[in-house]
Symmetry: C2
Subunit: 571 residues, 2 copies
């Protein structure tokens, strides 16, 4: 059997190697237009930062062999043609027409089965100056090498990153942290990590990154890149001018599906290749995998574009299995993400409440703030989990988390990655079995707490105030004359607030409310305040039973507010 | 409604507090025979070690209020009677007869609904000397306080821990690490953490603990505890005498179900209270939760005893829900566990292969050894995952993991806790979606690798040699004249082995086998050797396609062997 694989970064090599193990006698040829192949693209920010010293490390196996043509030929028994671009798929004759990138020499490869793994390309903004020297996308290892080279030569002092998604933020960290560059991130949307985490969590991250020296402007896109003598020296936004001798455009990627589309294969309107669960395109002899394909979002039930190296590897293996006659399936994704930023970790699985509402769900957000390990264990830190649930069906739609760097956030996100896709309900999260010991978690883990909060929310036992609305009220931007904050913390904690905000703030210690609730005004809307939200919830239940009607808990308590640093916050 | 709750450590207070929130007007009374209540029992080793300074921290909320009778009364609106033992449940009259522990004064509490949360008691070995001064179980906070008191007064220099389960090992760490005591653990079974992790992983842990100063003897029970003047000074085993001025008996716990049994409630043969998924006993007005109940093992389908604080909390909440009319369920457990020991973490979910075989499964173990984050990321360390799969159905039965301290092991264990209970199959683990970024994991996480290894194992594409059998062969204990180890590593790594074991060891670098396989003897059984097992698997596939018949991969490669420190290992 002759198998041709177009693209040799992630899905392609994975498919090729699996095929070699399954079909020892097949003739397998991998082609790629680049000369650097089979590399860990997600490691690029850590290569640029210097955490990873040599680009070879990104191209090496765990046993330190560089994955070059020699390696693939000798060790894997695969033919690899680099600098070879596939320019046409001739489905009728079952052959791929190729062209050498440097010489222009044409060639052809006939196939019995074909795998398209052409990946994605970065979006180039439709603005002036994108071609200037010093403006980069992170589209290949060559670009990464060029960026690092430029920095290490001392040619860069000010960098602007366009795009506040994961890659943009990781690049910003690497430029600031290890190279000490004056780095600014601009993000067109009103928050960083848009559509990945809720606004308040993005704000926590933003503050942490700013504390570590990164400048961030949200709600502000690049309107022009300005150069001098062909070299970049400025990025303009509608609001400001940013000096820059390095610009990194990290404005997302789009699928490289042209080859497939031109061959008449079914593609999505935005150019991703349509595949079934077996990674098979509309031509049964042609498979596709990785960033160039469209997959299914298991939460929304809609087709989705999910360009991630982790998925590319899984899909590549499934494509190989099916070519070899094993009926493996890739069912889809819920969308899972984790990122390091200096000393914090942020992660997500499934969808955010904003997206959920756009998709027609009646989404609520359960906010939990709790120690990441036993609250009595040394080194514990407050972690935040945001569980998104459909109020009508109680189905869990997503989870987002923020906490101290380490694998604690990952441990919670990963607990739900597989379950959300299979169908998970709020009450199941409350009783979810998780491994427990005090150095790792709490008897009721923050994830269980989030599940219980969600269950109380969807059952109308718990009501939460909108964090932004509360902020506007504290800022006197919206009146809500009837509102009053009821601070349930220890008098030592509450008193400064009562003093500073006498018209807004009332205090009654949590353990006295049961005895003293009659002292409270009956006609007010209470915003119940504590550090984590748990005491507030308990007092909501108590006061509700005493006839109080308008009761709202501050989600996650002041633990959340503290990290958002509003001007009205008292340390 | 009158609700009485017997037991106020974990399940009891959880049920009481949830009930208070759901039924504001109910009269809720908690009784406990102790005067210290509502504490984090799992934190005891960390209290004894000094990581947690004050026992009050184990009894405090996250907002630093001590959970004593005042707290429950004032803050929670619950009546608590401490030092009050329930001596009889009169189901006909729906009342509990009580007795004051100190005064002997009798009392009674009538109930509409009753919750039994009487917990467990430690097993006392049927040997001489268990009553000596200086011999402790970890049965209550009082015992922990007494132990710490004794140590801090300088009365202890040598400690023996009887029992190599989680509590015994945690106690051994705390005695050695912070107090510098000469500490010995003895475990009757042939390995520590019996029935929780496979023998080879237990051995890795044992070596790590020994490296940190803990003495460990397995396959060796305590036969007698010897004292002088009423105080312990020795522990005898069939093989040795161990000096000791402190003995901690951590030989498991059993349910405290007598009260329920005497009231005619259905109990298991070993005394655990039988409950349905609503935590209801055979008397519909009586619920039970926590260490005193029997639950369902969702892997084996059999009834199981799973005394864990984490489950007690979940069960307490479910009991409360049902009393308040909310049809919550606690479906059962798969058995999840995580433990810190000095600089490593070890964890487990589901069942081990040994247990699985006893339960009738055709269990195989997929061993994966891989970097816990991107292999090019600084600070990465090798982690081990052992995925247990039923070969006949491909169902995942369990996962055990070992790695560097931190939350990395937890992140993998927790990824499967919920899924195993719902029904998970080997191929699903290979494609399992997990959050990925290089500082946290690999594009194909070790869990995916373990899933793929399992899938290859159950599909007979991969065959593994038994680690113990390989060890015996290397030790010349079993001949296997036909065996030969084929070392696929770099010649620099393989040469010392070939030199030292010329009759057993052959080397051919992985990337040369495809070209040179004809040089290999055709009549040998090859044990394929590399560092992680991945190259070995690839060469198994290659050689199988060339007509070689007897091919076995060393599970997890030399990464595993290295940590088992056999005498034949070459550094």
């Amino acid at each position: 059997m002759k198998i041709v694989i177009i693209g040799a970064v992630a899905a392609g090599p994975k498919a090729a190697c699996r095929l070699r193990r399954l079909l020892p006698d097949a003739q397998i040829t991998l082609i790629d237009q680049d000369d650097l192949i089979s590399y860990g693209g997600c490691g690029i920010p850590y290569y640029v930062s210097g955490d990873v010293q040599d680009d070879k490390e990104l191209r090496s196996t765990s046993f330190h062999m560089v994955r070059d043509e020699y390696f693939f030929k000798e060790a894997k028994g695969l033919e690899v043609k680099t600098l070879t671009r596939a320019i046409k798929i001739d489905r009728k004759e079952k052959r791929v027409i190729t062209e050498h990138v440097n010489t222009g020499e044409k060639g052809e490869l006939s196939y019995d089965k074909l795998v398209i793994a052409t990946g994605s390309r970065p979006n180039i903004l439709p603005i002036k100056g994108v071609d200037l020297d010093g403006v980069f996308t992170i589209s290949s290892l060559h670009k990464a090498i060029a960026i690092k080279d430029k920095i290490s030569k001392g040619e860069v002092s000010k960098a602007v990153v366009i795009g506040g998604g994961a890659i943009g933020l990781e690049m910003a960290e690497s430029l600031t942290d290890l190279w000490g560059l004056d780095t600014t991130v601009i993000e067109f949307m009103p928050q960083i990590l848009p559509n990945i985490v809720p606004a308040y969590m993005a704000r926590m991250l933003e503050i942490h990154m700013k504390d570590n020296g990164v400048k961030i402007f949200t709600g502000e896109g690049a309107s022009e890149i300005v150069g001098e003598g062909g070299r970049v020296n400025k990025v303009l936004t509608p609001k400001r001018e940013l000096e820059a001798d390095l610009v990194i455009m990290a404005a997302g990627v789009r699928p490289r599906g042209e080859l497939a589309r031109d061959a008449g294969l079914q593609c999505s309107p935005y150019g991703a290749i349509c595949v079934n669960q077996r990674m098979q395109t509309s031509d049964p002899d042609i498979y596709a995998a990785g960033d160039c394909v469209e997959t299914l979002n298991l939460v929304t039930g809609k087709r989705a574009f999910a360009p991630l190296g982790s998925l590319a590897n899984r899909q590549g293996r499934v494509a190989a299995d099916n070519i070899a006659g094993i009926p493996s399936r890739f069912l889809g994704v819920v969308g899972s993400f984790v990122m390091k930023a200096f000393d914090v970790a942020i992660g997500s699985t499934g969808i955010t409440a904003d997206i959920a509402r756009k998709e027609g769900f009646n989404a609520v957000e359960a906010v939990a703030s709790q120690a990441d390990r036993a609250h009595f264990f040394p080194g514990q830190a407050i972690m935040f989990m945001n569980l998104v649930v459909d109020k009508d069906t109680k189905r869990v739609l997503g989870l987002q988390g923020f906490g101290k760097m380490g694998d604690g956030v990952l441990a919670r996100i990963n607990s739900l990655c597989g379950l959300i896709g299979k169908g998970l309900y709020a009450d199941e999260v409350g009783t979810l079995e998780l491994a427990y010991a005090p150095p790792f978690s709490n008897a009721m883990d923050i994830l269980n707490t989030a599940g219980n909060v969600a269950d109380n929310l969807v059952s109308d036992r718990l009501h939460m105030v909108d964090i932004d609305e509360f902020d506007r009220w504290m800022n006197d931007e919206t009146p809500h004359n009837n509102w009053i904050a009821l601070d349930l913390r220890h008098p030592k904690e509450a008193s400064p607030w009562v003093e500073k905000y006498p018209s807004k703030w009332l205090a009654m210690p949590y353990d006295e409310v049961r005895r003293r609730y009659k002292e409270l005004p009956q006609d007010k809307t209470f915003i119940l305040i504590c550090n984590a939200g748990t005491r507030s919830y308990e007092i909501e239940r108590l006061l509700a039973s005493k006839g109080f009607k308008e009761l709202y808990v501050l989600p996650g308590g002041l633990n959340v507010i503290k990290r958002l640093q509003p001007i009205w916050y008292i340390e």
